[in-house]
Amino acid sequence: MSSTVLLTIAMLSALGLLAAVILYFVAQKFKVIEDPRIDLVTEALPGANCGGCGYTGCRAFAETLVKSTSFEGLNCPVGGADTMGKVAVILDRQPVAVEPKVAVVRCNGTPDNAMRTSYYDGAVSCRVAHSLYGGQTGCQFGCLGCGDCVAACKFDAMYMDPVTELPVILDDKCVACGACVKACPRSIIELRKRNKKDRKIFISCVNKDKGGPARKACKVACIGCGKCLKVCPYEAITMENNLAFIDSTKCKLCRKCAPECPTGAILEIGFPVKEARPAEPADVSAS
């Protein structure tokens, strides 16, 4: 009886030892040497796996960072300069200054501004609505209001305003990962340079129609008149397909263009209220 038990113990121990020896040599032979800095960098990154850097998650980005020779073109929009500074310390490299950005919704087609001509009743998805029809207003470029962008945001930085039927971006939460930009089938959302006190001036319209039809569809549409173009002292405004565009990297926030716009398509947000002119359009999407 006892000899059977002892024999079993001896046999199993011998087998275990043999397996251990084999495994040891196999492990030596097929050892994967990973740069320990990858783990360190991954820990320094925010861990949101949002893909805002252009890679499939924080670890993939960390691997790229460790392999890279300079930080040119590599940036974590979520962590910003802080995180990139930490990573630079770990990897002993010079951080590259990247301007912080913020997402901006370039449509102001509220029910007041753009009259509803039909009612969408299909699957609640902007991509589906976009593939089916032009939209519930006369404008075939504007926001469809199903909230694909809000669903794509991983940082709770967006919500749909039930009154304006437009998405609203919370500047303090937005990390400019670009998920909403990709989610929007109509390319309405743009990543723009983040200015001091979150001030912004932009053309809140993407309508490429000629002036007449654009204005008919929406009171605050850009009609492509080009008045803003003429007053801009910094050549920040360009005009293409009846649509003006303010380049946020060139714009110095001088506010000369906004009063020129006959339809109020240029929004000024975050500025102190001027005495002479009430900042009426700012109220709409400043929230």
């Binding site: 001509t117 009743d121 998805s125 593939s131």
Partner: protein
């Protein structure tokens, strides 16, 4: 007893897999086609077919006659566009089409009704086919013929059998399985002889011996009319079919009539068949025998709330609002106006859009029945899979499309879907299955095309 039953109950042919039975609601089946007067202005879009839009060949201010070429086909898959009226081109501009998206259209102010001389406007039946095969195909191309069943694929391409393929059977689609629609039904009754001559021309163009005209059993008058007329023609048989949606789908109709199955991703020609619609056969007759381009078609305007539902022969470019006016005006409680059949058609965003070559019907639904029901979670009951005539799993592919898993959707054969809508119709949870499948299908097709060009 079993044999007796079989003898007494006539068993019609149909396709074996899936299918549904929506209420037929053929309110206008007994309404003779009314010819609508020419409107004061027509809007003719340059893209009324699958493929590249045609290029306008008239300028603003040009005086055109009915039947005159106003836009030239561009590229292989494209179709000519002719002026449906005589008058003056008032502008060439972008106007909203059925989807609300803007596209180029030629707007003509109507003056009189003056046709180009080459068009034979007489009503007499011309039976003798004098043109050769090549001439028939060329005529179809010149006259801008497209499939009138709904897909608007250029007819001349379908009549040209590519090298390496053979065609032994022509199937004429007189199924009209969509509820409400009756335009093909009326054509078969009123223009039976012309339709059959058109069928004969199609047969000659393809050089085929056998022609089967598939008609569902809910149109006994059309079946008897065409059967009677077909006695004069050799090789043309009328095949009554069991009523089942979507029997009008090419692949279903081929299976029902011949028992052949088109392989996944294949075309009817892979099993030696070409399918043409009844409306197309009539248009072929008019083009070949009368040299008349495709400038008018029959449109069913119907709906339970409509005062005078009917079938109307209208010029292309006539505003849909004029059609609704002719049917007794827009009912006050209208919630949705659908372009096409109730199963596959799409709701219109605006009604001041023109009738195009593909407009088969305008259906008006009251507000209380037009709204979609609340969407509930999928419980995997499998009703959609049983209803799918293509043997797909709609619940799965719609979710794959919704989640953006397009590679997986491609493996699940999302491109075999013909968008008949039987799945969404049967879904007890009222899930928008087809909405997502359409999105997925178009994305997968685009991805596949990009792969080829890369």
């Amino acid at each position: 007893l079993g044999n007796n039953l079989k003898r007494t109950i006539k068993v019609f042919k149909t396709f074996p897999k899936g299918g549904i039975h929506p209420p037929e609601n053929k309110l206008t089946a007994a309404k003779p086609t009314v010819i609508l007067p020419v409107p004061a202005q027509v809007t003719v879009p340059v893209s009324q077919h699958i493929g590249a839009p045609a290029t306008p060949v008239v300028e603003k201010g040009a005086v055109v006659r009915a039947g005159q070429l106003i836009a030239q086909a561009k590229g292989f898959v494209s179709a000519n566009i002719h002026s449906p009226v005589s008058g003056k081109v008032s502008k060439i501009d972008t106007v909203a089409d059925t989807t609300g998206y803007k596209q180029t259209a030629i707007v003509i102010d109507v003056e009189g009704d003056d046709w180009v001389e080459t068009v034979d406007r007489s009503s007499g039946l011309v039976k003798e086919i004098t043109l050769t095969r090549e001439q028939i195909i060329e005529r179809c191309q010149l006259c801008g013929l497209v499939g009138l069943g709904g897909a608007t694929f250029p007819t001349h391409i379908k009549l040209t059998v590519p090298a390496g393929k053979t065609c032994d059977t022509v199937i004429i689609n007189g199924v009209e399985c969509e509820p409400y629609l009756t335009s093909d039904h009326r054509l078969m009754l009123e223009k039976g002889a012309e339709v059959l001559t058109g069928v004969e021309i199609i047969r000659k163009a393809l050089g085929v011996g056998r022609v089967i005209i598939g008609i569902e059993a809910n149109k006994p008058d059309a079946i008897s009319n065409l059967t009677e007329l077909a006695r004069e023609f050799e090789g043309i048989t009328v095949q009554p079919l069991k009523v089942k949606y979507p029997q009008g789908g090419e692949k279903q109709l081929i299976k029902a009539c011949t028992g052949r199955e088109v392989p996944s991703g294949g075309l009817p020609l892979d099993v030696g068949v070409v399918v043409q619609n009844i409306g197309t056969a009539f248009a072929v007759y008019e083009a070949v025998q009368k040299n008349k381009p495709l400038v008018e078609r029959v449109v069913t305007v119907t709906g339970k709330s409509v005062k005078n539902p009917g079938n109307f022969r209208v010029r292309i470019g006539t505003p849909v609002s004029a059609l609704i006016e002719a049917a007794g005006g827009m009912p006050d409680d209208t919630g949705k106006v659908v372009n096409g059949g109730p199963m596959m058609g799409k709701a219109l965003a605006v009604t001041d859009i023109p009738v195009t070559k593909g407009t088969s019907g305008i259906i008006i639904f009251p507000a209380d029945v037009s709204k979609r029901a609340e969407v509930l979670p999928c419980i995997r009951c499998g009703k959609c899979s049983s209803a799918c005539a293509m043997g797909l799993e709609p619940w799965l592919i719609s979710v794959l499309a919704q989640k953006g898993m397009f590679e997986k959707a491609e493996q699940e054969k999302i491109t075999d879907c013909m968008e008949c809508g039987a799945c969404a119709y049967t879904c007890p949870a009222k899930r928008p299955l087809l909405d997502y499948i359409r999105l997925g299908k178009s994305t997968v097709i685009r991805m596949a095309r990009e792969r080829i060009t890369k």
